[in-house]
Amino acid sequence: MKTRDEIAQALGKAGYVADSELATAISLMQLLRRPLLLEGEAGVGKTEVAKALAAVYATELIRLQCYEGLDQSAALYEWNYQHQLLSIQAHHGTDADAIEDRIFSEKYLLERPLLAAIRRDKPPVLLIDEIDRADDEFEAFLLELLSDFQVSIPEFGTIKATSIPHVVLTSNGTRELSDALRRRCLYHYVDYPDVERETRIIMARIDGAEASLSLQIARMVESIRKEELRKVPGVAETLDWAAALVGLDVKDLHDAPETVHETLMCLLKTQEDRARMTREVSARLLGRVA
């Protein structure tokens, strides 16, 4: 078992600046073999956790993006009907059993993310993104898969997992998840990072971002988050903004208040918020940034 410090360090190397709580969660994932459920506002870096985790384990990241109406055939497996039909016609006249054996073999099985995740030699990281967008029925099905790690295909037999994937689920809270799924998982709430951590995130992710500028950006974003906004900017927005400022060759926010105001579009994504953030407001917020 890796210690938490090692995990935090490894995540850092993979470009994700983790707090100690998240490192604990990941060490527990290894210990208890439970999936990790990440909740939090949009744009706080939930998906990034899974990406960084895949980098840490040096393994493949298999991603299943959930949406309304997602079903087994899109998530687990499907037969390749067109090929099956072609095969039937090409071998017309041969023994029926032989054809059946042929068309229900591996070759005609289309692997979807969930099946792929349990059939790898090396345990991959399975990211089930935005599980709250999927339907209740799918959630129940997923629960079964996550406890047994085996899939039965009627024409083919049962496929047992060759390796147990590291499962990360994310949710934006657009729908209440079932208690059963919640209980099955370790829970971690991803909050907006504090100034210190956000500064480190900017420096880790944006080439050419100086420490002083990163700190200013993080402070500015923090005070913007405290304003009454419809859509609070997430970490992804902060990084966009930082990249814009670095790209425009800004070294100190106070030197370029005009540029700061004009590039705020990276952070504010609705017309209402944009209108609320007038020049006066942005100047006032900038004034508070030391």
């Binding site: 078992m1 938490r4 100690s20 709580e21 604990t24 969660a25 527990l28 210990l31 208890l32 439970r34 990790l36 909740e39 309304e68 109406g69 037969w79 009907y81 067109q82 099956q84 039909l85 039937i88 016609q89 339907d135 934006n172 809270g173 657009t174 729908r175 209440e176 208690d179 919640r182 209980r183 998982c185 370790l186 829970y187 971690h188 709430y189 419809r230």
Partner: protein, 403 residues
């Protein structure tokens, strides 16, 4: 946790582990009492965590347990307080931290909220809670006149909701809700049919379905949009000025939660409380019992704007989908910021399909919508109707069914 003296013998260790595990069991019981969903599998894993070296430091153990045992944001927020209280004995202080630090807006129960200091009227009149007095409009600006509601609301906090649980009245309220649910559902089915015509063909499934015909597409498979049942979200104003009607609507809500496939209920006065779980108790008197616990300690007037803000911020994303009808039951006397109410109504209107505003006051003769709250909210409301008795609720049926 194993911190006794040098070289303990086996019996000591057994004794120690027995003590630790009983303490752990007690902790899990405490969590269950606080609404955590903790099962046997969690107990086992908690024991594993303790033996795997996570118990070396309290902070580490707390963090590990927190991930394992909490299941939602509210659990996550209150876990540290409970842990500290139980294991570190910081009972009193962390209790107050739990109630204070858990973001109040996020806290679904009202019972932890500090009671709002209600200001009784200076002239000592008993508060008259329903009718806008003639000078009401003049008092608006000072805000003092509105505090009539405040003292009355305190009365409500002491009102025992159990008195409302008259079996016959409950049955009637359920009947009304059931009829409403049926009316709104029938409408849905008709829409279903209309939509089924002329939708796209699902090519993959057509091929799949016709393999038995050698791949000749004989039976076509159409793609249909998945239907969602209509969801009704009721926001009930439980402030003093509404106290005459609270009982009626609570019974109605209990019926709605029972009859509708999907429904949520919220109660607000100065704060918003999510009461669906408490109200979903099959036994109406027990539901009202749980509710009276939740409503205690809340006082003051009606802050509709603030309550809506809480709703939009913390609950809307979860409870509102594209086929949601929001029903606000309130007299519209706003003691808070009317501009805020205006903004939040606009936000709510953008989000949901229909907003119905039921106003018990409208049943009164000569009533005109002059309360500040109503004036601000009306532009965003799709149906504004009176409702002060069960009969008037039933009369609404055809209008609600059309939504």
């Amino acid at each position: 946790m194993s911190c006794c003296g040098a070289s303990p013998d086996i019996d000591d260790i057994n004794e120690l582990s027995r003590l630790v595990s009983s303490k752990l069991a007690a902790f899990l019981r405490t969590l269950r009492d606080n609404g955590f969903a903790v099962g046997l599998a969690e107990s086992r894993d908690a024991a594993v965590i303790m033996t795997e070296g996570y118990a070396a430091r309290p902070g580490l153990l707390r963090s590990a347990f927190k991930h394992l045992l909490s299941a939602r944001k509210t659990d996550w927020d209150k876990f540290d307080g409970i842990f500290d209280a139980f294991w570190l004995g910081k009972r009193v202080r962390s209790r107050s931290v739990t109630s204070g630090a858990a973001k109040a807006a996020n806290n679904p129960s009202l019972k932890n909220l500090p009671s709002h200091s209600a200001q009784p009227r200076a002239d000592g009149n008993t508060a008259i809670d329903q009718v806008p007095s003639a000078d009401g409009a003049g008092n608006d600006r000072s805000g003092k006149g509105r505090m009539e509601g405040a003292s009355a609301a305190e009365n409500l906090a002491e009102t025992d909701f159990r008195n409302l649980a008259d079996p016959e009245q409950i049955a009637q309220a359920h009947l009304a809700a059931a009829r409403l649910a049926r009316a709104m559902r029938t409408r849905l089915t008709r829409r279903n049919l209309a939509r089924r015509r002329g939708y796209r063909i699902d090519l993959r499934r057509t091929i799949h379905g016709n393999i038995s015909h050698g791949g000749v597409a004989i039976r076509l498979v159409n793609r249909q949009r998945k239907q969602k049942a209509l969801r009704l979200v009721v926001l009930l104003d439980a402030s003093g000025s509404m106290s005459m009607y609270t009982g009626l609507f609570l019974r109605f809500i209990h019926g709605v939660l029972d009859e509708f496939r999907e429904a949520e209920a919220f109660l607000f006065h100065t704060r918003l409380a999510h009461v669906s779980d408490a109200m979903k108790e099959r036994d109406a008197s027990r539901a009202l019992d749980r509710l009276s616990i939740m409503a205690q300690g809340a006082g003051g007037g009606t802050r509709i704007g603030e309550s809506l803000q809480t709703f939009n911020r913390w609950h809307a994303a979860r409870v509102i989908h594209s086929r949601t009808c929001v029903m606000i039951v309130s007299d519209g006397y706003e003691t808070g910021d009317v501009a805020l109410l205006d903004r939040e109504m606009a936000a709510l209107g953008r989000r949901c399909r229909r907003i119905v505003w039921l106003n018990p006051m409208m049943g009164w003769q000569g009533y005109a919508p002059e309360a500040r709250g109503i004036k601000a909210a009306l532009p965003y409301v799709d149906l504004y109707a009176p409702a002060n008795t069960l009969a008037s609720l039933t009369a609404l049926e055809p209008y609600l069914a059309r939504l």
